[in-house]
Amino acid sequence: MRFWEGIRLALQQIWAQKLKSFFSLVGVIIGITFLIAVITIVEGMNTYVREDFAGSLFGVNTFSVVRRAQINTGSIDQAERRRTARNPDLLLRDVAVVEEAAPTAKYVAYSADRGFPEVRYGSNSRRNIRVIGGSEDYQAVQGWEVEEGRGLTAIDEQRALKVAVIGAQIAERLFPTNSPLEKRIRVGGQRFRVIGVLERQGGFIGNVRDASILIPFSTFNATLSRRRNGVDEIHVKVETESQMEPTMASVEGALRRDRGLRPTEENDFHLQTSNDLLSAWNTINAILLAAIPGLVSVSLVVGGIVIMNIMLLSVSDRTREIGLRKSLGAKRRDILFQFLTEASTLSIVGSVLGIGIGLGLAALVDRFSPLPATVSLPWLLLAIVLGMGVGVSSGIYPAYRASKLDPIEALRSE
């Protein structure tokens, strides 16, 4: 009963002095806006990395053998880095070892890749692209679908045909008006016939696929490769998740035997799963999430101090009203509660405005930049709770002052 009365009274006060209220809330609004905008984008990236990126980069139930860890998870120290720098390059013969060690695998595919400054068709070009030489099953392991034309086949591989399946961004740039199929593009001094276009991946880190050109491994090995029979990644896809660990163990053992490593020696190769990427992301995520509260709390503290001042002003402006209320039977806690409610309502209004503006900003970022945004209810609730906390903590002192006023003195004040 008194609760609603308090909120009604507070809203009345805010509404009566709209401009003053807005300025007194700027601190809280900025703090919450920042919190919501950043959290929304971080959460968006989270969802994206977990659900889209990790899966599409590595495929489901897939692991890769690589020379050394490609992703810095933050857990690799300098010594580890120096040690793995001496790891031998992977070669085609390692693929045979892996294939033999993983007889139950659905696919074993391998690839080598190289970056090039540009790819051209006529006068059109696309800069900074990657050519991937993939074995027959590479597309299947990666889960890359073809949007137009066809993908690579066993015959392309066997005959080392100079054919290419191109990423969506490259197709867009080189062939803005016509079909890319059967056109000959030029990259690294070689010409390739376009036989297909990969489905667009899109999103924040979408250019991994969208700016790639996929050619047969044999073709890559014969034309663009820097190392004869060099392989950058060997991908193993198993049928079910439960097969992941035994298969990885088997592959690890086979490679160690093949390389004659003693039990005391570390692997001179690296087994990589999508978990590597996720843990790298989690590290970044944790840093971001740890930094945000600090930044937000600074603006909330400032906002709280402003609210406290406004409330102190309000108490001295309304001393007479407080005296009247006391003379009519308001107890100390009634007055305390009234001003606490007022401060909380004030800052919750600020939080709600901040949430609105923050979501608006996030929506703009989502719409006009590659950064994704996801609204998360727990964070919205946290923002409200934070706002209320700021209100209560900045309202305590003014409310206490008000509750301590002597009714006689207060009634006498002008």
Partner: protein, 246 residues
Amino acid sequence: MTTQQQPDDAVIKTRDLHKHYVMGAETVKALNGVDVQIRRNEYVSIMGPSGSGKSTLMNLIGCLDSPTSGEYILNGQPVQDLDDDELARIRNREIGFVFQTFNLLPRATALHNVELPLIYAGVGSKDRQRRAALSLERVGLGDRMDHRPNELSGGQRQRVAIARALVNDPSIVLADEPTGNLDSSTSDEIMQVFESLHAAGQTIIMVTHEFDIAAHSQRVITLVDGKISSHDAEIPSFAAHTERPF
């Protein structure tokens, strides 16, 4: 010493009431042994020059303050030793204040202003509105409930304040210079309201320095230097027949 004959229907009874203020090295005895008795349904004025202690006495009677020493029994209950919150509860239930400057909440409607004491009494919203409306009708403002104070005349504002004082059905209405901010015709209007309340059985205590206002009451208590100088001086005939008794 407590065997003194006292009427059973005393609503206010003080004995040897003292209120001392310490001002630096000096102690000011604002009240210096006051014995007052006010019976139910009495209409009493308290008068006295400034500094006589009449405001202090009013604050004590109104339970806004506690005496330094002495006894104060309000409606059968000793209240001299109560703490702030207990006093607030007593004020809420037993006392209806009417102030010189009305003291209405400027942004609230007449109805809401009258509801205020009921809010602190913990009365539910429906019941509150009903009782506040009844109280406003009692002072003839049934048609002004939704008006804010700035939409009302001075006399109407004071009647809202009286409605607010009555809404909790208090033991006493305590009016502090209720006509001090009003012109003479409006003052008469307010005095008629008080008289009709008195006729309906309400106990009224009025602090004033105007004789013609005091003359409306049944008797006048006069304070000088913190003591009662004119003890229980009954002047009913003045109130009935004279415009300016002194």
